[in-house]
Symmetry: C2
Subunit: 77 residues, 2 copies
């Protein structure tokens, strides 16, 4: 089955990439944009059919590789 | 309000970054990983309180800047 994960910077961690996107949008007449934060999205296909087991396995991957827990949070969808 | 967007590569478009993550996970004893596709996630705060209007505005941003519609799809959450 497929498991989706979003990895985002923790609140308070500077996000220069998001800031650049926000400024570009503001300059493109999207003046209503107040803040943009960018994160990563992973679509992971695993050979496990049990949803609970698959998600537990993906959580382990987040902790070991996909997210840097010092500055990032992950959310399994 | 905040609007979240996921931008992913269209099916069939090669994703070398996702492939590298998949191979790394396989090498880390996560042999159950069959495929990984990576995408981008945006958390956009706009000065619009009406949900429908905010999402319509963000859709416009996706078309004009955030996604390359030739190779990418976007999904507004």
């Amino acid at each position: 089955m497929k498991v989706n994960v979003i990895v985002t910077l923790k609140e308070g961690v500077l996000d220069p990439q998001g800031k650049a996107i926000q400024q570009t949008l503001n300059g493109m007449s999207f003046s209503e944009v107040k803040e943009v934060r960018q994160g990563k999205y992973f679509d992971i296909e695993v050979n496990i059919e049990d949803e609970k087991k698959a998600k537990a396995k993906v959580e382990e991957m987040c902790k070991k590789l996909l997210a840097n827990l010092v500055i990032e949070d992950y959310k399994i969808l």
